[in-house]
């Protein structure tokens, strides 16, 4: 009996699919239909919206389905829930890093690279790499500046790793959280066509930090002009990636809100870069022996 049931079910599905294909405008409430609608919404909201949307919608849907993989809704305490954020391959990570380093006008990072498949691999390891890169290159630059000075005694300054980790991880999590909350609130007030999920925002922020890794390594060389140039270059690149990504999300909003959001994004980015440079590459005074400084400083002050 059970074997005769199967063909019936299969035909039923096929029939529904045919119906959906035949009259696309009919208001059938199904998950696939919703997915197509949101996809069209995203596509029309993005800057890359082209004519191919109308020409071959099914092909696009197929492609996006294949790329995004199967999205099962699993509860957040299971291992599989987190596995979906690591469903990524080497060439995806390469493309995303390159996409975050080289902003191209009209290329929205979330819509071009993430395609509804935000990952946590890139943000996490980019942040970790940046933490150690800042701590280590700050230490090396300190050593190079004081090289040859008689009273300088080299120390690894390992405590800087903790401070760098706190600064960078809080930037990469708290700013997206605030931005996500703000966009959610604005979305309730004004219907925006584009809305980003929290993971997508975290992903963009994580990848936008990748340009700072080579910049921080450049800061080893003790030339102030080089450091400021690399800060400005990195700031322009990562700032423009962030701006272009969040532009569609706030485009329909009030001009004041647009300016506020965009300037907040850039200011926080600049704050992180300049703060890191000021704190980790400040080259403090060479360590004099503690006894002599205490004797010399106290009478004068």
């Amino acid at each position: 009996m059970a074997s005769t049931n199967d063909p019936f079910q299969f035909q039923e599905f096929e029939e529904a699919g045919n119906l959906l294909e035949a009259n696309r405008d009919a208001t059938t409430i199904s998950i696939e239909d919703e997915a197509i609608q949101t996809e069209n919404q995203r596509k029309s909201g993005g800057l890359t919206a082209g004519g191919d949307d109308d020409e071959d919608p099914l092909a696009y849907d197929d492609k996006s389905e294949l790329l995004s993989g199967q999205k099962k809704s699993v509860p957040f305490w299971t291992f599989e829930y987190y596995q979906q954020f690591f469903d990524i391959e080497t060439h995806h990570v390469k493309e995303r890093i390159i996409g975050s380093v080289l902003p191209w006008p009209g290329k929205n990072f979330i819509q071009v690279y993430l395609r509804r498949n935000p990952d946590l691999y890139g943000p996490f390891w980019i942040c970790t790499t940046l933490v150690f890169a800042i701590a280590i290159s700050g230490n090396i630059s300190n050593f190079l500046v004081h090289l040859g000075k008689p009273h300088y005694k080299y120390t690894p300054e390992f405590g800087k790793v903790t401070i760098a980790a706190t600064a960078i991880f809080s930037y990469a999590w708290l700013v997206p959280l605030a931005l996500w909350g703000f966009l959610l609130w604005r979305n309730n007030k004004i219907m925006n066509l584009v809305s980003y999920s929290f993971m997508e925002i975290v992903c963009v922020y994580g990848y936008s930090l990748s340009i700072y890794i080579p910049a921080v390594v450049l800061w080893i060389l003790p030339y102030q002009w080089l450091r400021w140039t690399s800060i400005v270059v990195a700031l322009c690149l990562s700032g423009s990636v962030l701006m272009m990504t969040f532009w569609p999300a706030v485009r329909d909003d009030h001009p004041k809100v647009i300016i506020a959001v965009m300037s907040a994004i850039v200011v926080f980015n600049a704050l992180l870069a300049v703060g890191c440079k000021a704190y980790f590459f400040s080259n403090p005074q060479p360590d004099l022996p503690p006894n002599s400084t205490a004797i010399e400083v106290q009478p004068s002050s």
Binding site: F79, Y82, Q83, F85, F86, D87, I88, E89, T90, H91, V93, Y121, F124, W125, T128, T129, F132, I136, N139, K153, Y154, T155, P156, E157, F158, G159, K160
Partner: protein, 228 residues
Amino acid sequence: MAAAEEASKPFAGLSDVSISEDIPVEGDISVPVGSSRRDDEFSTLDEPVKETILRDLRAVGNKFVHVLYPKRSSALLRDWDLWGPLLLCVTLALLLQGGAADSDDQGGPQFAEVFVIVWFGSIIITLNSKLLGGTISFFQSLCVLGYCIMPLTVAMVVCRIVLMGGSGAVSFAVRLAVVTVSFGWSTFASTAFLADSQPPNRKALVVYPVFLFYFVIGWMILTFSPSQ
């Protein structure tokens, strides 16, 4: 119909079996001796303590040899233990003491910091490889990552010996060479064991965190400077 009835009462047929008295019942009904003897062989209840400890030490030593010659064998993966990683981690953390950390607050890594970096680092790398879809188990991965610190621990011993001679440019060059070689060795050895468990298009994603992990440990060893 008969078959269905039989299925509903699985042992119904057995009740009909009767052994007529004229057929002699024969057979060996003793408990199989061979298997119990094999159990005795593996039983460790009545062996001397020395043998127990030596067997464990031999297993640990055997894994050290596997790290030194990272050929693709599954011995390091099959029976994992965390004794070796603990031993190596404690040795490394102890050797990193007595440096600038004692005199300066902004000094080298403290004992606890080394411990946290080694253990949390390997746990995070393991979680990362599991999340990426690796087929290796959690403790197997911890075991491999822990055992592969060995070249770096050896480098730490060499560095301390070199530092006794002095801390000039030559000593730094020697230490740099030693740490670089052992860092490469550690990464290569752990990759030989870990990368096989991954699909080929994700290998680089698993290897990179391992590389970063050993790089940071190598950095800690290289920057160790004893207090004068």
